[in-house]
Symmetry: C2
Subunit: 258 residues, 2 copies
């Protein structure tokens, strides 16, 4: 089954648009909101993730492990991580923002599949969106392309001009025309950009970061409705009661998209 | 010591501009030029890499492990990989094409340093080049920013228009003005683009892929001279005699840059 089919069939059962971002910041990365650490980072990261997945798995339709935070995990640990996620009837999106030439993209898709991920995130910057989508399809992986990110400087390149159109507009059109799984669109973007993107993306799923710690607006959920996958990370995984917090976000999102 | 200082001091000793790309393609990724595989991918990748590093370490000034090919390696294996590279008096550049928001970039820099890498590659697409460079400096990591890549579709976004200038021109100027370690510029780019980039990059190092399997021209080496770090991967690591092949490239490059 394709990623979007899996998503819609799980949606029937779980009634959730919440994706929990697995960003296990490590001791030394920042002053607070870090996981407890021992001499074995891979073990620390895996056990923290396991705890979060088991607590929030009933509320979340997907998890988004962030490659940069889980970099210490090796092959068997990544497989174990995805086994836990699937045990909760949730999907696993590797947030890796792949941004490379064809043969390297093939390598990423190969290992992502072997490790048990259901989809990956990627950047369109190398310009090879179509061939990247072919690589994903060969491995039966969903693909979420960066369209307009949530950070304040995202416009520099994503709003550069390509033959009279914003770069993000070219990306959104490619996603829609090629039938690519989805777009990454930050909840923090302004009204004009949102209007433009939502007028193009009529079928694709939309992975939405920026709600929670980045304080993005929930207006974007009104635009994309049932196709929204809303990522919340820090505000769930480092809360005192992750299950309760995940349920809070699930219900909050459902009130808007239903 | 900063990455460029390490590079120039090793250059005195090793007289080499060759960077060997560690792209250990796995059985199943493509029909040929793959490593031998067992039931333990991490072990296979590490032992292939060790063999290549020990054979070519005398000829190479740097190695560039490609994150997408070595994705199965965990923390202790990544540390071991870098230990082997440093044992050969070579530098280790993690080719990860980081492309994320600030807190995630921090996480990548944190783990890259902990694993023993000397530099990383990153994409300017999220627009946060300056804060990314701050993250790298905090961890004493070199940074190579994608400027104009070697794949044929690279121009779509890298030659988009930002206030009358090509995106790659904006990137090159940022690298130069901020004192960022280096730029990634494909050997396959055309003469006009090369002229523009070389007129901007006067101090930065230039990491050059595209020579070897991608058959890029060596003209670019005349432009950047001593500041060139030339990556060759497949044509060295899958040759019958990697040491001889590495020496061939080292000498070929030296004839042009000296």
């Amino acid at each position: 089954m394709k990623f979007d089919e899996l998503f819609y069939s799980l949606l029937e059962v779980k009634q959730s648009h919440l994706c929990v971002g697995i960003d296990p910041a490590y001791d030394g990365m920042r002053p607070k909101q870090v996981i407890s650490s021992s001499k074995n980072p891979a073990e620390d990261i895996l056990s923290f993730s396991q705890d979060i997945i088991s607590k929030t798995g009933g509320e979340a339709i997907a998890f988004k492990p962030n490659q940069q935070y889980i970099l210490p995990l090796g092959f068997s640990e990544l497989k174990e991580l995805n086994r836990m996620i699937h045990e909760q009837d949730a999907l696993s999106i590797l947030d890796i923002k792949l941004s490379d030439i064809g043969s390297t993209n093939d390598a990423c898709c190969f290992w992502s599949k072997k490790c048990g991920f259901d989809a990956i995130t990627a950047s369109p910057f190398p310009g090879n969106m179509r061939s990247l989508w072919e690589s994903c399809k060969r491995q039966e992986l969903g693909l979420f392309l960066l369209c307009l990110m949530s950070n304040p400087e995202a416009g520099t390149f994503m709003k550069s001009d390509i033959k009279g159109r914003y770069a993000y507009d070219v990306i959104a059109n490619t996603i829609e025309n090629e039938g690519i799984t989805g777009a990454v669109v930050g909840a923090t973007i302004d009204e004009n950009d949102m209007k433009c993107i939502s007028s193009v993306l009529k079928k694709a799923l939309v992975l939405i970061p920026g709600i929670g710690a980045q304080q993005g607006s929930t207006t974007i959920l009104e635009k994309f409705g049932k196709r929204s996958i809303v990522n919340v990370s820090r505000d769930v995984i480092f809360s005192l009661d992750p299950k309760e917090r995940a349920r809070y976000y699930k219900e909050k999102i459902n009130r808007i998209v239903s």
